[in-house]
């Protein structure tokens, strides 16, 4: 039963998460409210691992979330659910027209979805902040890391490693 639920939930995420990068994150936060597959803190750890390993973040998240919920098979089933809508829709797109382009209506729909997705990501960020920034020391680390990201562009893994060291040294 868990397998079927995992498949259905990740199929839904594959269908509605439009774009790349962090778009799957808010959908996964929604799952924490409805299932006990993983906690918000575990989900935040998953984001860190997904950002610092190769492969699309969305796929990494699906495998990780599925594994946490129901072991190796869970990871495979969640990933399968996530990619299925893409496969079906892209085959349809490829079949219908060799020269499909985003028409005016699709363009209009997207112009509304993009700011909504931004709100979703910000809201997920607020939930991450609520569980991770628990004291004044954490606020300092947060501001310091954010300033580094703005002034010194590096791959996320650099900041994550640094944050792990800071966490151990300061006993966060």
């Amino acid at each position: 039963m868990t397998y079927l639920l995992l498949w259905a939930e990740f199929f839904k995420i594959g269908l509605f998460a439009i774009g790349g990068g962090l778009v799957t994150v808010p959908f996964l936060f929604d799952l924490t409210d409805r299932y006990d597959w993983f906690s918000k803190a575990e989900l935040t750890n998953m984001i860190a691992v997904s950002e610092s390993t190769p492969g699309p973040i969305g796929v990494n998240m699906a495998t990780f979330a599925g594994f946490n919920a129901a072991g190796v098979m869970g990871g495979i089933i969640a990933t399968f659910g996530l990619v299925l809508p893409s496969v079906i829709i892209m085959i349809m797109v490829a079949k219908m027209m060799s020269k499909y382009s985003c028409n005016v209506r699709v363009h209009n729909v997207l112009s509304g979805i993009r700011p909504a997705v931004l709100a979703l990501i910000l809201y997920a960020g607020l939930q991450v902040a609520k569980i991770s920034i628990t004291g004044s020391l954490e606020i300092l680390v947060f501001v310091g890391l954010l300033m580094m990201m703005r002034l010194w562009k590096q791959s996320p893994i650099v900041y994550l490693c640094l944050a792990a060291i800071i966490g151990i040294v300061l006993k966060l």
Binding site: G20, I47, P85, R105, L110, L118, L145
Partner: protein, 156 residues
């Protein structure tokens, strides 16, 4: 992702041309699903129909599934360790900062007109006070934007 794709499928294998890849990338951005998977499926289908699509999709997903499964099973054994817990507490603060960084960039790129700003603010209100689900919010925003576009066209 895009530079890697270009080196492989345009320069080395010549599956698609430079322009086709760029078109494909923009199609991938406006169809449901994760962009890189959409691009992989499309290229696979173009080359060898359904089985080509299945093969390329499996190819792009498999490294993630293997690496993450291995990593997840190792991580599970260490979560009780005190120092691992400290490290992850630091890492979680960093994830909050990474998301803030992404939100800042996306806001600069996308919130450049009144319509987008209105949708964004309304979406935030719905999320914070009414706890609307992500799926419902995406559906609502898409429908409102479609309706707004049609009204604008009729007026013209």
């Amino acid at each position: 992702m895009l530079p890697l794709l270009r080196a492989e499928v345009v320069e080395k294998r010549k599956f698609v041309t430079e322009q086709e890849l760029l078109d494909l990338y923009s199609i991938g951005q406006c169809t449901p699903g994760i962009i890189s998977i959409n691009v992989a499926t499309y290229i696979g289908y173009q080359q060898k129909k359904i089985w080509g699509a299945v093969a390329t999709t499996l190819g792009i997903v498999l490294p993630s599934v293997i690496i993450i499964t291995l990593l997840a099973s190792v991580l599970q054994k260490f979560t009780d360790n005190r120092y691992v817990a400290y490290a992850f507490a630091g890492i979680r603060v960093c994830v909050a900062a990474l998301i803030a960084d992404v939100v800042y960039d996306l806001a600069k790129k996308n919130l450049n007109n009144y319509f987008a700003a209105t949708i964004f603010i309304t979406a935030m209100i719905l999320l914070v006070w009414l706890d609307v689900s992500a799926v419902l919010l995406v559906l609502l925003a898409g429908m409102v934007a479609l309706a707004a576009g049609e009204i604008k066209r009729i007026r013209k």
